[in-house]
Structure formats: C-alpha cells, structure tokens
Amino acid sequence: MANNKKQIRIALRNCGFINPENIGDYIARSGYAALASVLGANNPQNSIDVIKKSGLRGRGGGGFPTGLKWEIASKNHADQKYVVCNADEGDPGAFMDRSILEGDPHSVLEAMAINGFCIGATKGLIYIRAEYPLAIERLLIAINQAEEISVLGNNIMNTGFDFNIELRYGAGAFVCGEETALIHSMEGGRGEPTFKPPFPAQEGYLKKPTNVNNVETFANIPAIILKGWEWFSSIGTEKSKGTKVFALAGKVNNVGLIEVPMGITLREVIYEIGNGIVNDKNFKAVQTGGPSGGCLTEKFLDTPIDYDNLIAAGSMMGSGGMIVMDEDDCMVSVAKFYLDFTVEESCGKCAPCRIGNKRLFELLEKITEGKGTMEDLDHLKNLSKVTKDTALCGLGQTSPNPVLSTIDNFWNEYLAHVVDKKCPAGQCKALKCYIIDTEQCIGCTVCARACPVGAIKGEKKTPHEISQEICIKCGACMEKCKFNAISIK
C-alpha cells in the first residue's frame, strides 16, 4: 500500500517476511538471539543500560523512557514480579499492535522474556483485546512453539531462567490502556484507574512490582539488543529515538501502516508516503494521538514529528493514529466525534471525566446544531482546561485535547458556527441550507416529488422554492436535480 521510501522498519521488521505461525522463520531472522545474548551475558543491569542508552520511549502514548521504567521495576524487591504487555489497542483508528502480534508474535514474546530477566520476573501476561481473534490464535501458537524449543517456559536455554507467558483478555474498555486500570482489569475487576503512586513498578498486578509496556515498545527491544544502542539512537531526533509506526488513514491516497523514523515531517508522510490528498483537495489538518491528541494544521507540515514537538504543537504521539483531513471536514464535528468517544469510554470514577466530558460533548453538539452562544465557547474553554487539570488518569487529562487544539487552530470555524450559524465545511446537517437557484431551475418538479417532507413548492415550469422551516436537510432534492440548480449555502 503505502510506498516504501522514507520508511525504516524496526518494529515491523519481520511483518510480512515471515510465517508468524512458524518459529523457524523467526529464528532464521535472528529470532531469540537477543534473548540468548542477554541470558548469556547474565548481567541484567547491563542490558537495562543498553535500553536506557538507546533512548527508547514508550510507544503506547506517554513516551516514558523504557529503560528507566525497567530499572525502577528491577530495583523493587519482591518474591514475584510481573511483565505485562499492553495489547489492548483501543484508539479508534490505530491497529499497529494488532499487525505486530499477527505478523511477528515472537518478537513480543522474546522482548517480554528479556524484560523478565532484566527486572527479575518469571511471569509475563499479555493483556489483549478479545476482538483480535487472529492475534490471539497466533500468540497461542507462538507461545507453544517457543516453549517446545525452550526459548520460553522453564529453564530457558538451559540457563535456569524461567519465564512463562499467559494471555489475559480485555473486554472492550479504552481506559484499560491506562496501566493501573489495565491491572485492575487483569485482576478481574472494573477497569478503573487508581491514583499513582503507588506505580505499577512498586505495586502492580496482585500488588507485586509490575512492568507494563505496549506491543510496539516490546517489538523494538530484540533489535536494540542485537544491533546495539548506538545504532538505535542514531535514528530519530535528540529526545525521540528510533522509529514510530503510524496508521495513516483518512483523506490520503495511500492509507495503511507505516513505520517512519522519528523526526520525519508531516509533509513527507502525507505527500510522499501517503501520496497526497484524495481528489487533490486541500489539506486541512492531521489528527494524531487519537482521542487524547489534537489536530495539526498546515503550519506544522514541516515540523519534525517527535514526542516533544507534537506536545508543543498541542497534540501528542499517542499510540500512532494519524488521520488526514481535507477541506470538507468540519473541525468542530471532529472534536465532537472524539468527545463522543471519550464520553463512551470514560470509566466514570472521577467527576471531571464522568460529567465534564459529557458536558463538553453537549456544548459541541449545541454548537454544531447552530444553537451555541459566545458564552458556550467560554464554558468550552474553561471546562476543557479544568478537566485536563483535575481528571484522575491519562484518559480524562487528555480528553479535552481535541477541543483545545481545534479551538487553537480553527477558532474561526467555531465562530462561524456560533455567530454566523454556518458550517464552513458544509458538514453540520443542522446548519445546511439548501437553496434553489431561480436562474437554473426550469420547474421540472423532480425535486418536489423527491422531497420526503413536502418542503418544496412551485408551479410546473416555474422556479421552485424550498421552505427552510420544513426542510430536514436530507439532500434528496440536490441528488435528483439534473440542472445543478440546488446548492448548499
């Protein structure tokens, strides 16, 4: 699909090149060699240092330095520790984790075992969406095969190191991407986050020290161990090393998964890899970071993409959704779409997220229906800020981002909805106004017959008129008119 120039494959290095149901394929491409080298060197701190020096940061959204996370977990002593792989990909419009698990499950298993050895854990758990049956099947096959040849299980490679991996199934809750919520879910409870500290590295699954990383983060690990931290840190920007997998979607010609070096610009992604906007329409914005992120406009097209630049631009890396929008997309509606998502996905534990997001959504709904006031815009801004500032977990702390970033970048669109009662993109149904051009209309009556509510009146062979009070803005008349006499104002 997407063209290959500008792409570097680390996390996706094996996807499409191996049969994921055959461990031999993986081994043939240096699979489990990283684990062998870590176990052979028998110096966990050394291996942690390699990860630290590589500069790898968590690919699940937050961007916390992975090596540091491992080090903290390694220093908390307990009779049992856990390694957890977060495979509960829930961002609408992102599916990189699924692709890795389906295309290269062993890379994740190997990384988890390395992680286990480094922090002193003998048990690994993969928290995976139940909606990913193929990924689950391939993981189970991979675990079996790995155990058969003793690269997983007890006494791995005769080193005396035990590491067993089990699957835990998510059940459809976006908030479980938050690590404390994920842990409560794995323990059989409601996926509600809890205040940190204690961090999972101190008190995680079953109150034991637990290291949680996401699929893509893990998929990078064996490559870093084998090729060295110097190689990895040579890719990317100063503070964001390596590559990032994005799910490029929306109004671009080439859509699909891409893996690009940190520091690439949006322009390169959209126009070179994505091959430009569909139907040569005008680029309007790109949304990154999913429901936690924001929209980037034309002025950011040449900004190098990394964790810090995206945050500075009012968005975030997130798990890697990248949705391109064109002139036909209404940015108020886009914000509403994401808020609709967070309203549905809020766990309900803290008041700002439970009620605040609902009220944000309702304000946006009011605005897109043409009923918004300037006061509503004030409430929208204040409520967004307060929700960010007071919510309990990452979900609520970032859920107003789509609102704030569209307010920052598309304030005029908000004003158009509120003051002029118009949707510049022509997308908000309630603000559409179908008008018959009396010059063009020949009075053929086709539109009047097509109208389901009888809003169009006029004598045969004389120009017709649409009653705006009756019109339900279904667009049937415009579709039927052969003379291009009907337009949206």
């Binding site: 699909m1 459809g172 794995m186 979607a249 929306g250 699909g256 959704g321």
Partner: protein
C-alpha cells in the same frame, strides 16, 4: 423467603465447568465471563448469579464488571449481528451516514436486537480495516467502501434468509 433463580441444568453444569477450569479463582472473573458469553452468546442475569456463587464474588460486583465492559452483553445477539466500525478513518469517510441508513433499514438502534432475533446492531471502534473505510461487518463477513445506497441491498440479502436455517 429466599430469592430463587432459574437456570437449565445444562447451562449450570457448563458454567460450573468453566469456573472450575479457572480454579474458581475470583481474579479470573473476566476470563470466566468471556467463556460463558462464548457459550451462551450473552450473559443473562442467572448466569451471572451462578458465576458469582462459584467464584464467591457478590453478584453486584459481577454485574458491575459485566456492565463496565462493552464486549459483554446481557442481550442475545441476532442471527446476523451487524456491526459498523466507528473508528476515526471510517468516521471521516462517512460511517455516520451508513449508520443512519442501517438504523433505518433494520429499524434498530445501536445495542438492540430485532424482535424476530434476526438482526442486532452494534457499533465498533476500529476493526483495523481503515483501508476499506467505511466498513460494516455482518457476522464475520466484511463489507468495505460502503455508500449509503449499498446498505439496503446488503440488508435485504440477509432478510431473504429469514426462512432458511
């Protein structure tokens, strides 16, 4: 005096087996619910009562978990479960209009099952087929790049199978 719950012997035995396969561990509640829903197609109140008794979890807590996760349902799905992807890619490519048309054609709202048990309608978050956006699933069958006008034909195909077993 005490509240009575009715359940068939077969279902009860099956649920007990599922619980036992997870050592009746309270921490395995979600796995038990998954397996039970796999078996029954949904999680009726009686099933939750039995699970609560087996795992020694208050029924209120079991229900608290079932009602928290969108994957669990207490309403049986239709013979042809229709799901629409409402992920961002599908959304920007017009999923909302497809959903409106589905609601109209099926005479159902999201989360409902038709009285004859033929259809149920659900909305999903990104099925990972963004290249085919907008996407509708009927059972396991994927319908991609749908336009509102395609919906009627798609639905009629299944309506015709009403009599077929």
């Amino acid at each position: 005096m005490s509240v009575k719950i009715q359940i068939s012997q077969k279902t009860r035995t099956k649920i007990e087996e599922i619980c036992k396969s997870f050592n009746n561990e309270p921490g395995e509640l979600i796995n038990v619910l998954h397996k039970t829903q796999d078996y029954l197609g949904y999680l009726p109140a009686e099933a939750q009562e039995v699970i609560g008794q087996e795992l020694k979890i208050p029924t209120a807590k079991v229900y608290g978990v079932v009602s928290f996760y969108s994957f669990f349902t207490m309403i049986p799905k239709g013979r042809f479960p229709v799901s629409i992807c409402m992920g961002t890619a599908c959304y920007v490519r017009g999923a909302e209009r497809i959903l409106d048309e589905l609601k109209h054609q099926l005479e159902l709202n999201v989360g409902e099952t038709s009285a004859d048990g033929l259809f149920s309608l659900a909305s999903l978050r990104c099925v990972g087929a963004c290249g085919l956006a907008p996407v509708v699933l009927v059972g396991d069958k994927v319908y991609g790049r749908l336009a509102p006008d395609d919906v009627k034909n798609m639905v009629d195909e299944y309506k015709d199978m009403r009599g077929a077993v």
